[in-house]
């Protein structure tokens, strides 16, 4: 009997000790968590500040933009948006957004199709000269874009494609973006070829395997490719600048510059307002595709 009571009190002591330890650990954990989040929040705000300022400034009037460093406008106005949308050209910004869309849509579609086909070829087929071809593909990754600008310009000029969207579209229809091909090849290499072999045994031809089996398995990676191509094309300034000369064909990236060029005194709030609008499509598309995008990055393993 007394032995049991002794055991009980010893057990009680041990429990109390454990509870004290737990409480201590919990407090320490909470303090360290607060510190961590404080630092992360501070750094995050610091990095986002230019963007926040941009959005705030687009609602200021021109006088205020350079007068105060804060981002909350004292006297919010939409005039930047209204006047900026009208532009100093005969066209509104709507036209430029439409032009951007006309460049982006075919480019994204061509890129996805051509890169998937080329990557499938490199990842799954043996053919003479494959190593050399793949090496030269990768080599173009290392080549600075600027180096090829002049020969490309001359080529497209000879073909009479200047001041049209063709120089922007056509390279992507031939898997001109080596990075995407490389990315898809890597993704394909992580997928075992058994499903494709099963499809071949089921009677599928190579192109049927690509369309019915490979493309669906590549979907997350293809969405990433489309997303990257969308954002890069949206932000591309040099390409349209070189090949397009008529204002009516300008995409948003050129039009933004246009409003700086033509006005004598820059209306910064217009430029900032249009910059905000120009950012919007990329952001919207990114958040819409985010689920698949992350899947594309994380879904490497296929259940064996």
């Amino acid at each position: 009997m007394s032995q049991t009571m002794l055991d009980d009190s010893a057990a009680f002591d041990a429990d109390a000790e454990a509870a004290r330890h737990l409480a201590l650990q919990e407090r320490r954990g909470r303090i360290s968590m607060i510190l961590r989040y404080a630092v992360l929040t501070a750094v995050g705000v610091l990095m986002l500040y230019p963007l926040i300022w941009l959005i705030g400034a687009s609602f200021k009037n021109n006088a205020e933009i350079f007068a105060s460093p804060g981002f909350i406008p004292k006297d919010p106005t939409l005039s930047g948006y209204v006047k900026g949308w009208e532009t100093s050209t005969p066209y509104t910004f709507g036209r430029f957004f439409w032009n951007t869309f006309l460049i982006i849509a075919p480019k994204v579609i061509f890129t996805v199709i051509s890169c998937a086909a080329v990557a499938y070829g490199f990842a799954r087929f043996q053919f003479p000269g494959k190593r050399i071809l793949f090496a030269s593909l990768i080599a173009t990754l290392l080549l600075p874009n600027v180096v090829t600008r002049i020969p490309q310009y001359l080529l497209f000029s000879e073909m009479g494609w200047l001041d049209s969207y063709l120089p922007l579209w056509v390279p992507s229809a031939f898997a001109g973006d080596a990075f995407f091909v490389f990315m898809l090849v890597q993704f394909l290499r992580s997928i075992p070829p058994d499903m494709e072999e099963a499809a071949r045994v089921d009677g599928a031809k190579s192109w049927q395997v690509l369309i019915f089996i490979v493309a669906p398995m590549l979907t997350p990676a293809l969405i990433s490719v489309a997303l990257f191509q969308f954002m890069w094309t949206m932000n591309d300034f040099l390409g349209p600048l070189i090949y397009l000369s008529s204002v009516e064909k300008f995409p948003v990236s050129l039009a933004l510059k246009l409003s700086i060029d033509t006005s004598e005194a820059f209306d910064w709030n217009r430029i900032l307002a249009m910059s905000v609008l120009a950012l919007a499509p990329s952001l919207v598309v990114f958040f819409m595709a985010q689920k698949y995008f992350i899947e594309g990055i994380s879904a490497g393993g296929v259940k064996g």
Partner: protein, 372 residues
């Protein structure tokens, strides 16, 4: 008729490495042929050449009398079940089953009828609207089997289909596949099977005949009993049977009363049946082969008894595997459980080998010289 005939088949890879060395194999219509061997023996490569997934470097393969060397896999009249199921991950089970039929442009009603038929046979009806990732291993393998079955192929090819399953499921799938084969055969449908495995239990229990391969060559093709009783060479002898056959270097001596094998300080006199089987030109330097099951405890005064020192003893429930030393050579001996205590004592026991089931192999060539 769907007999499969392989003539002088060769596979040479780009680097000059020869993986398959002139394999000849005939699989009769409706036969269940198992290709078995250790990893790297080119059994899967051979199967993949039959399927058309690997190019053929030499020789030819014909299915139902038609040479298929240059036909696409889909045109060969084969269906294949893969080790990791290889179900199309983005298609529901129903679509997985019907993919081949849809490609072939089969009518919708016919596709539905065949899906239903296969689903019934394999009991996968409730799974038809699931995605492969929602299936367990056994279910996925049944769907993979269904995908092969639905095509009504001339030849079924299996590439280690059970090795991803756990032991219990493997045993039940083994039975299921064997029964399916029997049923197809009874219905008069094409049911020729080539089944690749590295598991000799699968090979022995499922195969009508077994083709044992090593390093791209066929070692022996025979039915399971023949492989076990009359292995043609050292490799087959060591590969088939569990625990492995004891293989010990010995001297073959010819005496007036027949042959005897000397190893260490022990002499094993052969029985009359075995004496008759030994080839006349058998060399002196041989390897003695004796299955662990072919030992028994010797009678107290047996002059032919072998003295065995007992080392480690594995208790398996239904039997005891004792690792013993006889005449300086190591043997594994399977003994009845009742002898467990005696064998476990770590002392010496007296064993009698079954003299008529001793195999004698030419040490130089590895050929069995006791088969005549």
């Amino acid at each position: 008729m769907a007999q499969l005939s392989i003539r002088n088949l060769e596979k040479i890879y780009g680097g000059g490495f020869k993986a398959v060395h002139g394999v000849d194999l005939e699989v009769a219509d409706g036969e269940f042929m198992v290709l078995v061997g250790p990893s790297g023996c080119a059994k899967s490569t051979t199967l993949r050449m039959i399927a058309g997934l690997e190019t053929i470097s030499g020789g030819h393969i014909s299915i139902g009398g038609k040479v298929v060397n240059n036909l696409a896999p889909g045109d060969r009249g084969i269906a294949m079940v893969f080790q990791n199921y290889a179900l199309y991950p983005h298609m529901k089970v129903r679509k997985n089953l019907s993919f081949g039929l849809r490609l072939a442009g089969e009518k919708k009603a016919e596709i539905e009828r065949r899906v239903a038929e296969v689903a019934e046979v394999l009991e996968i009806g409730p799974l038809l609207d699931r995605l492969p990732k929602q299936l367990s291993g056994g279910q996925a393998q049944r769907v993979a089997l269904g995908r092969a079955l639905i095509k009504k192929p001339e030849v079924f090819l299996f590439d280690e289909p059970l090795s991803n399953l756990d032991a219990k499921l493997r045993a039940s799938m083994r039975v299921r596949i064997t029964e399916l084969h029997r049923r197809l055969k009874a219905q008069g449908r094409s049911s020729t099977v080539v089944y690749v495995t590295h598991d000799q239990v699968e090979a022995m229990t499922m195969g009508d005949r077994i083709c044992v391969m090593k390093e791209g060559r066929i070692m022996q093709v025979a039915d399971p009993a023949t492989l076990y009783e009359r292995p043609e060479n050292l490799f087959v002898a060591g590969f088939i049977g569990m625990p492995e056959m004891n293989l010990v270097e010995a001297e073959l001596e010819r005496g007036p009363e027949g042959h005897a094998l000397r190893f260490g300080d022990q002499v094993l006199r052969l029985g009359p049946e075995q004496n008759a089987r030994i080839a006349a030109d058998a060399p002196k330097a041989v390897t003695l082969g004796l299955r662990p099951q072919h030992f028994r405890l010797a009678e107290p005064n047996d002059p032919e008894a072998l003295a065995a020192q007992v080392g480690k003893v594995d208790f398996l429930g239904h039997e005891v595997d004792a690792h013993v030393t006889i005449g300086g050579a190591k043997f594994t001996v399977v003994l009845p459980v009742e002898l467990f205590r005696e064998a476990a004592q770590g002392g010496t026991i007296r064993l009698r080998a079954d003299e008529n089931r001793v195999h004698i192999f030419d040490r130089a060539s590895g050929a069995n010289v006791s088969l005549a």
